[in-house]
């Protein structure tokens, strides 16, 4: 390698390492702070290592931190998020798979129009739709219930998920459907027996997208879930707001933040390529 080439190489790695540090630091300091005790977190520089690291902040964040006047921690909210995410994701995946199948493989007239109708909705900011939705739920008597928050997540998740399934199904050989029809299978039989077994990979991609989307949502949870079903993102935001009015307990805040970040982070680290395909999938034809 020429000296110039070597210098270029060194510069390249220098750039990559510096950038990696920039990306890593926020997570690092969240972890460091969460391992400190309250005084240390408040007084000392955030970059100092904790003197005696322990998990006290996590246990307080989980079970006894105060959010507003409610001092039961965010543990309960964690389960709220789990329930909301599980329900919204399973319903959306089911619907999206059925929709995608119907749109892709049955030569329906105006299938393109239906897809277009759906996708236009996906690119409109939620803000223009939330207030009427609140009124509709209020009329239906489900405002600020689990049902309401799950329905809005399904509503806003469907376009992209349907598109993902549809794009996958469009690539399947149409003769597969023809053969199954000759064999006497109906729509739902073909879907269940032929199509679903083929959908594992695409369902993982769509599922990851849906889980991270729903878990990480703040706005819809804030407006539609109500106190009883408040998801974790909303609680952790108000936890930080609560603490700043009294004695700030940054170690607890950061522990709660980390707990909120953990599920999608683990999903990201464990699912690798699927995750990347998920977050970029929506863009393929968007």
């Amino acid at each position: 390698m020429t000296p110039a080439g070597r210098a270029g190489r060194i510069g390249l790695y220098l750039f990559l390492v510096t950038t990696a540090l920039f990306f890593a630091i926020p997570l690092v300091i969240v972890v460091l702070t969460a391992l400190k005790d309250a005084d240390e977190a408040r007084g000392a520089s955030i970059f100092l290592l904790p003197r005696s690291p322990d998990l006290e902040a996590f246990s307080k964040a989980w079970s006894s931190a105060c959010i507003g006047r409610d001092c039961n921690g965010i543990g309960g909210r964690f389960w709220n998020s789990v329930v909301i995410t599980a329900l919204a994701t399973s319903i959306s995946l089911l619907l999206a798979s059925l929709n995608g199948f119907a749109l892709a493989l049955w030569n329906l007239r105006r299938a393109g129009l239906v897809l277009g109708l759906l996708l236009v909705g996906a690119f409109v900011p939620y803000q223009i739709m939330i207030y009427p939705l609140v009124r509709m739920f209020a009329v239906g008597g489900i405002h600020q219930t689990l049902a309401a928050v799950v329905i809005v997540h399904v509503l806003f998740g469907l376009p992209i998920l349907t598109l993902i399934f549809r794009n996958y199904y469009v690539g399947l050989p149409p003769e597969l459907i023809k053969a199954a029809r000759v064999d006497g299978a109906g729509f739902f039989q073909i879907w269940r027996l032929v199509i679903l077994p083929l959908s594992l990979n695409v369902a993982i991609v769509a599922g990851i997208l849906s889980v991270t989307g729903v878990w990480n949502d703040y706005l819809l949870g804030l407006i539609f879930s109500g106190q009883n079903w408040q998801p974790m993102t909303v609680s952790v935001a108000s936890l930080s707001a609560t603490a700043s009015s009294g004695v700030p307990e940054q170690n607890v805040n950061m522990a709660a933040t980390l707990l909120t970040a953990l599920p999608p982070l683990l999903l990201y680290l464990l699912s690798g390529k699927y995750f990347v395909r998920g977050v970029t999938a929506g863009a393929v034809k968007g």
Partner: protein
């Protein structure tokens, strides 16, 4: 055991007419081949017979029962697709049993029918494999087996051999023919390969541009093509066509030459005027000396094919070919005297392309 009657079928996609008023009778137990170039409508016709494609007008009858609006599954058919369309997540056994499974047949019945079909096709040892673990030929057999498991009255094949290599194709061709003889059921088989059509069919329907050009036995199709299209499409090397003029009921003038057609089997009363003179290459020979029936031509090229040799000649500015033995083609002079056997000659109307 099914007789299929097709009456005035029309199918178009937008402005593009794919089937133009198609009528066709298929006899019980027949092996009918739909032959034509890609885009001629043969696969659409097969899909219509299967019920996979809805037609805009016309009727399809199985044994006098109108099935035009019936679902494919209600038509009691078996179908084999070009890509085989095996369900990728199921074993060969599950693929074959699928039709029985969806109608809720008992395990024992499923197993019995699968066994029977597997024995027939000698694929018993492959039943626990998935399509991905099978070779092309094995998949083909499983796909045929799947269509056999249902008690079908009619079997439809959509270019089933075109994804196989040449050797395997010949083998499967023979098996399908044997299968037809053994089952005695009506087969409808779509292909663009004339060899397949000639070897398999009891009758061939040649299609072009959404119209059936001719339905006849392979022999008739070859010897007495009904249209210039059929004559051109069937036969390799292809028939030669020369523009000429009928000057008398038994004579065609081609440029400065005159060819005698004394015993030509006219379809209708001969009328003088311009004609297209078609001749099969194997019915053209080279005479050593000029005779009363020979025409003069110039040698233009020689293509050895191994078993025989194709000789290209020019007759009054138009090209034609002759299929000769390698010995006969050796050492030909530049100027040739060609002789046409009348069995190899077809005359067509230059405007309509219809046989005269």
């Amino acid at each position: 055991m099914t007789r299929v009657r097709i009456e005035n079928l029309v199918r178009s996609y937008g402005a593009h007419a794919v089937l133009k008023d198609i009528s066709l009778d298929i006899a019980d137990g027949e092996f009918l081949v739909l032959l034509g170039p890609s885009g001629c409508g043969k696969s659409t016709l097969l899909s219509a017979i299967a019920g996979l494609d809805q037609v805009q007008a016309g009727r399809i009858l199985f044994d006098d029962r109108d099935v035009t609006r019936l679902e494919p599954s209600a038509r009691e058919i078996g179908m084999v697709f070009q890509s085989y369309a095996l369900y990728p997540t199921m074993t060969a056994r599950a693929n074959m049993a699928f039709a029985l499974r969806v109608v809720g047949a008992s395990r024992a019945e499923q197993e019995e029918r699968v066994r029977w079909a597997a024995d027939l096709l000698q694929i018993g040892h492959l039943l626990d494999r998935k399509p991905g673990q099978l070779s092309g030929g094995q998949r083909q057999r499983v796909a045929i087996g799947r269509s056999l498991v249902r008690k079908a009255r009619l079997f439809l094949f959509d270019e089933p051999l075109s994804n196989l290599d040449a050797k395997l194709r010949t083998e499967m061709r023979n098996e399908i023919k044997a299968l037809h003889e053994r089952l005695g059921v009506t087969f409808v088989f779509v292909t663009h390969d004339q060899i397949e059509a000639m070897t398999l069919a009891t009758r061939i329907a040649v299609m072009d541009a959404g119209v059936i050009q001719q339905v006849d036995t392979p022999d008739e199709i070859y010897r007495r093509p009904a249209t210039r299209f059929v004559a051109d499409f069937v036969g390799a090397p292809a028939m030669s066509f020369l523009e000429g003029e009928l000057v008398a009921p038994d004579r065609v003038r081609i440029g400065e030459n005159t060819v005698a057609v004394p015993d030509y089997a006219w379809r209708s009363a001969p009328r003088t005027g311009s004609v297209v003179f078609g001749v099969r290459p194997e019915r053209v020979s080279v005479a050593p000396v000029p005779g009363t029936a020979t025409v003069a031509a110039r040698l233009r090229g020689i293509e050895p094919h191994g078993a025989d040799t194709l000789v290209w000649a020019e007759l009054s500015g138009q090209r034609l070919s002759a299929r000769l033995t390698p010995e006969a083609a050796a050492g030909l002079p530049q100027s040739l005297h060609l002789d046409f056997e009348i069995e190899g000659v077809s005359l067509f109307d230059p405007d309509s392309g219809a046989r005269l």
